[in-house]
């Protein structure tokens, strides 16, 4: 036993949980049983480690404890299937110990397997997100529930339903073959990206950024990059998260949301920017970039600009053009139109935004009228700008963004004399 401080116990659990669970799932072939014995092992550790000290190899200690517990549970069941499972656990343990002498590759494979199972396209998106945060991120069910602003009971049911589908539909624990990877990887990437965007522009509620959730998305992206370093879109996703997250502190002030144009760029996190750009520099030359790498490149152009005005908007327009051909979406069209307005003036921006107003996907999207309002305001067409801000305010769901839009609207609304006029009533 080492002299490590008891305070590290929590951090160790967080770090080890995904690995522990992933290996147990492979041994036991059962997510519920793996979860149960992993939780038992953690409970024992919580009791013992503060007294005995944190073991030198906490992961191995937890795995051994969990395995013994699983074998106990299985023996008690007395069924033929349980007896087979005990034999299998013992055989795989011997195999794992043999292999772990050459490095930690088998555990890494286990985690990668669990990623592809939790993010299987046969599962509903909300289930994939919940499973990934719970089983790879090591968040508790109540933490996952809080992150998505749903009651704990709802989240517990969501996890149960997803686990039941894995078991009943026979979703396997396996890493897709190289030829399957292009079809399967985007599902994994989109789960991590969704967790990040939810953290970053929380779709409802009082906070604009939920830093813990953003950190969790970043951690998952790092784990995936560690497991699949040669996959360019994995590097692209990690770079994107780093390059956007670098602006986190400058994005919200005491008075609310601060747009990119008004952010104090000295508060950007240059460690993250450098890391993100470094990743991109290594990723981009390898062939035509995918959607995450392209979005990362756009974020990098912003991050490298000394000021909003000095941003290389033409470069951004060009990157959006490529993104549009690789991954067309109405939101990409909207961003391209806004960038065109920045590059060539508000009248041009308005023209391109005008082409999008009929798109059904953008009908309820507050950023379209918000962008129109801004260009109208720049052109001095204040009545139309007022209307557009009001429409954006009707559609916005995040409180912090609402405050921002209201401030812009107030700033262009002529102050009306609101002194009460006596004597009109009765």
């Amino acid at each position: 036993m080492s002299e490590r401080a008891v305070g590290t116990v929590e951090a160790v659990f967080r770090e080890e949980w995904g690995r522990l669970l992933a290996t147990l799932v492979r041994w036991l072939g059962d997510l519920d049983l793996a979860e149960e014995v992993a939780a038992d092992a953690v409970a024992v550790a919580v009791e013992r480690w503060p007294v005995d000290g944190v073991p030198d190899r906490p992961g191995a200690w937890l795995l051994t404890t969990a395995r013994r517990r699983a074998v106990d549970l299985l023996r008690r069941r007395q069924t033929y299937a349980a007896k087979l499972a005990v034999l299998k656990v013992e055989a795989l343990r011997a195999d794992s110990e043999h292999r772990s002498a050459d490095g930690a590759t088998s555990i890494d494979d286990d985690r990668l397997r669990l990623f592809f199972t939790c993010c299987h396209p046969a599962l509903p998106m909300d289930g994939r997100v919940a499973l990934t945060l719970r089983y790879l991120g090591g968040l508790s069910t109540s933490e996952v529930a809080r992150a998505f602003l749903v009651p704990e009971k709802t989240m517990a049911q969501r996890l149960t339903r997803a686990k039941r589908k894995i078991k009943d539909a026979g979703i396997p624990y396996r890493v897709p073959r190289a030829d399957e990877l292009p079809a399967r990887l985007p599902a994994v990437l989109s789960v991590i990206y969704l967790i990040f965007t939810e953290a970053y522009a929380a779709s409802g509620g009082p906070a604009l950024v939920r830093p813990d959730l953003a950190d969790e998305a970043l951690r998952l992206a790092r784990i995936l990059f560690e497991l699949l370093p040669a996959e360019r879109e994995v590097a692209g996703l990690l770079a994107l998260l780093l390059l956007v997250d670098a602006r986190r502190d400058a994005r919200v002030s005491d008075t609310g949301l601060v747009l990119l144009a008004d952010q104090d760029r000295t508060r950007w996190d240059h460690t993250k920017i450098d890391e993100g750009i470094g990743l991109l520099d290594r990723t981009l030359p390898g062939g035509p970039p995918g959607p995450y790498a392209l979005q990362a490149a756009i974020a990098a152009v912003h991050d490298e600009a000394p000021s909003f005005e000095a941003t290389d908007w033409r470069q951004i327009v060009a990157l959006y053009e490529v993104l549009r051909s690789v991954a067309p979406s109405p939101v990409v069209d909207l961003n391209r139109a806004a960038a065109l307005g920045m590059a060539h003036g508000p009248a041009v921006g308005l023209k391109y935004l005008g082409e999008l107003t009929e798109m059904p996907e953008l009908q309820r999207y507050h950023l379209l009228p918000a962008a129109r309002a801004r260009f109208l305001e720049d052109l001095g067409r204040l009545d139309e700008a007022t209307q557009a801000y009001r429409l954006a305010l009707d559609l916005v769901r995040n409180d912090v963004e609402r405050v921002y839009l209201q401030r812009r609207l107030d700033a262009i609304t002529p102050v009306v004399d609101v002194k009460p006029r006596g004597g009109t009533a009765g």
Partner: protein
């Protein structure tokens, strides 16, 4: 809690429910021949794979009759249970190690191109003791 099962060890049965629109006008002989050639090719491939358990095409949905009991009364109605554009046109029953394998085979089926394939695991019951 049910005993753990590793899908790799115990095979599972999956049913492919093949849905498609029934054409308003019959296809030309050439179109029909071309489509049937695809179906025969797939049918041979899945039979040779060792996964095949059963499979059939169904007569068109106009031939369907729905029956249900209301109390003791037998109610027989013409046509399929639900009126939808996509109707059940056939099925395959296969034995596969996991959902990924089943999805691979479902995607290869011409039914995936002409309509859609619903892939469902078969519910397995413990055989009651005699």
């Amino acid at each position: 809690m049910p005993p753990p099962c590793d899908p790799k060890e115990g095979k599972m049965r999956y049913m492919f429910l093949i849905y498609g629109e029934e054409p308003a006008t019959p296809p030309s002989q050439e179109e029909l021949d071309a489509e049937m050639a695809e179906w025969w090719k797939y049918d041979n491939a899945i039979k040779e794979s060792g996964l095949f358990l059963a499979g059939d095409a169904l007569q068109p949905s106009q031939t369907a009759t729905t029956v249900r009991l209301k109390g003791d009364e037998r109610i027989v109605t013409d046509g399929p249970f639900a009126e939808t554009r996509e109707v059940l046109g056939g099925y395959y029953l296969i034995d596969a190690p996991d959902l990924d394998t089943a999805l691979d085979w479902a995607a290869k089926c011409p039914g995936a191109k002409y309509g859609s394939m619903e892939v469902r695991p078969v519910m397995e019951f413990d055989t009651p003791e005699q």
